[in-house]
């Protein structure tokens, strides 16, 4: 970031007076846009906090932070949903991350090297295509293909943690692959000459130089992928079974915070069940915030990727 600011500063001084005149409104416009975005986020946070306030002031916090969701008997515990969100997102990442990393390694050196059998281009094209598949299509396909398979092959109704985790893994795969790939593309060429001079093969170069120096991108991919997984609504809503309980096996149904909000938002807007949704929103918002702050820490720790080579 500091580097970028410096270079734009030197560009300004070289542009002359006419350039400065023309840039002022543009700068103001861009600043306005940035300020509006920041204000939006702040407003959302304020809105969630404001609407969660009744829960805190009326002593309903205990009711929200409990393990039982039984609105008809006055219990509005959202902890099973918080656990469900974390379990589902982590398991989906556990499946998708090694797969994504493996795919990137295959494309960037571990796969066939000869240009005649270049599988990298079609593979990455496919991954980019996957980003444009709507979530609901994955959900629908899984309801009719994956769920009966799990129901027949194992036990239970098929609508389960497992079904949602597998589908969610497919959903977050492109995010992981594209972030890692762009990092490797950036780091790789800077090292190629050095690696070749040392007599390293492409595979050795990737494993011993490129990957270790791409740690920042690898972490960013994990954080972004996790954020995507924890925020998705439709896949858990359609596939996870939505039982408001902590699952004991991957074949049990679970309910995520996102699916919970989608299910309960249509209830009587004067009820305590409805008000508890704002606490769900607040938790989700805080998780996303934590993920983003984590991402910033990673960036701050290593300000420039491959400059010390």
């Amino acid at each position: 970031m500091p580097g970028a600011r410096q270079s734009s500063g030197s560009g300004n001084s070289g542009a002359g007076r006419g350039g400065v005149h023309g840039e002022r409104p543009v700068t103001a416009l861009l600043f306005g846009a940035a300020a509006a975005s920041v204000l939006c986020v702040a407003a959302i946070f304020g809105f969630l906090a404001w609407f969660s306030l009744p829960l805190l002031s009326e002593g309903q916090l205990g009711a929200v932070l409990s393990w039982h969701w039984r609105p008809t008997s006055g219990e509005f515990g959202i902890l099973p949903m918080a656990v469900g969100s974390l379990l589902l997102a982590s398991s989906a990442m556990l499946l998708a991350y090694p797969l994504g990393l493996g795919l990137c390694c295959f494309v960037h050196g571990l796969g066939p090297v000869q240009p005649s059998v270049d599988l990298g281009r079609p593979l990455m094209g496919l991954v980019r295509l996957m980003t444009s598949v709507p979530t609901v299509v994955y959900g629908l396909a899984s309801v009719f293909l994956l769920v009966p398979l799990i129901r027949g092959g194992f036990s239970g109704s098929g609508f389960s943690w497992l079904a949602a985790a597998l589908t969610l893994a497919v959903l977050v795969l492109p995010t992981i692959v594209l972030v890692i790939d762009s990092q490797l593309r950036q780091t790789g060429p800077e090292l190629r000459l050095t690696a070749a001079a040392l007599g390293l093969t492409r595979a050795q170069e990737l494993l011993h130089l490129t990957l270790p120096l791409s740690a920042r991108g690898l972490k960013a991919a994990a954080v972004l992928g996790f954020g995507r997984a924890v925020g998705d609504t439709l896949v858990p809503l359609m596939l996870a079974g939505n039982a408001a309980q902590v699952p004991h096996t991957p074949l049990d149904p679970l309910r995520t915070l996102t699916a919970h909000i989608a299910l309960v938002v249509a209830t009587d807007s004067q009820s305590a069940a409805y008000n508890s949704l704002f606490a769900c929103g607040l938790i989700l918002f805080l998780v996303t915030l934590a993920v983003n702050l984590g991402l910033r820490r990673i960036r701050a720790a290593q300000p420039s990727g491959g400059s010390h080579v």
């Binding site: 039982h68 109704s157 098929g158 309980q245 299910l263 309960v264 938002v265 009587d268």
Partner: protein
């Protein structure tokens, strides 16, 4: 040539409608003749087929009237009409006192709908007692063998708490008993139907209007869950479908509500599988 064609289409349509529905219907629709304006409707999903058919007929009668019909569920219906975003908010349940107090809403019932337990069409179980249904949904009976089916675990499906269908099933069929916490939750009557149609060991519940060959409804204590039995009072698990307005309805909205509650609205309601209240 073109003006002739323009005049011809409405004429033919009117003739076709008149032939199809007879003079009574024309009298009903006459309330809308020459009027113009807009009615926005949202809320309960069970209402949609009735609302859409009525809207179509009214808009064909009077080209100056626009009627939009959206879903969202009973809770959304209350919120939208209460905040003045739509003219009519539909609910598949009676309003709560808090809702009436906050928004000053008026309710108009137009149909009665039954709710029945549903299973996969190949499930051999033909009858369930109310006590058996209660035990199954509470998780006390966990195998189909206990109620005369094959030896297989029962897969429970239920609806979200916003569902009017769930409310009536829980209050009347389950007598406000517990629903096992491990039951799968689906978000609409349609989703319930496709879940049950795909799961040979599943049991759930749907609006009677939604029962067709893709799912089977076992008899309840020997009474088949049909709209006829519901009408005659033999089948007990019933609810009303309501249209709600903020304050007294006026003008076009009042016309629309009396049309739905009138004889032609009743005919549309009946043809969509519900029992008209009139």
């Amino acid at each position: 040539m073109q003006s002739v064609r323009k005049g011809l289409i409405p004429a033919v349509l009117t003739l076709a409608l008149a032939l199809a529905f007879g003079p009574a219907q024309a009298a009903d629709l006459d309330a809308f003749a020459g009027k113009s304006g807009k009615i926005d409707i949202a809320g309960g999903t069970a209402h949609i087929p009735v609302m859409k058919e009525a809207a179509k007929r009214i808009m064909q009668k009077s080209s100056g009237i626009r009627i939009t019909v959206a879903g969202g569920g009973s809770g959304v219906g209350v919120q939208k009409v209460g905040e003045g975003l739509v003219d009519i908010g539909n609910t598949g349940r009676a309003l709560t006192e808090a809702e009436v107090a906050k928004y000053g809403l008026k309710s108009y019932a137009f149909a009665i709908d039954g709710v029945a337990a549903g299973v996969h069409p190949k499930n051999p179980v033909a009858n369930l007692t109310q006590a058996q249904v209660q035990d199954i949904f509470a998780g006390k009976i966990a195998n189909w063998k206990a109620v005369g089916g094959r030896d297989a675990a029962i897969h429970l499906y239920t609806r979200d708490e916003a569902s009017g269908t769930r409310e009536v099933f829980w209050e009347i069929m389950l007598k406000k008993g517990q629903i096992a916490p491990g039951a799968n939750v689906v978000a609409s009557n349609g989703a319930m139907k496709s879940a049950l149609a795909g799961d040979a060991d599943g049991i759930g519940y749907v609006s009677i209007g939604h029962i067709d060959q893709s799912i089977k409804a076992p008899t309840l204590d020997g009474v088949a869950p049909t709209q006829d039995n519901a009408k005659g009072g033999k089948y007990p698990v019933l609810r009303k479908l309501y249209m709600n307005t903020k304050g007294e309805p006026k003008g076009l909205v009042a016309d629309f509500i009396s049309y739905i509650q009138g004889p032609e609205g009743a005919a549309i309601t009946a043809s969509d599988g519900y029992i008209p209240t009139r």
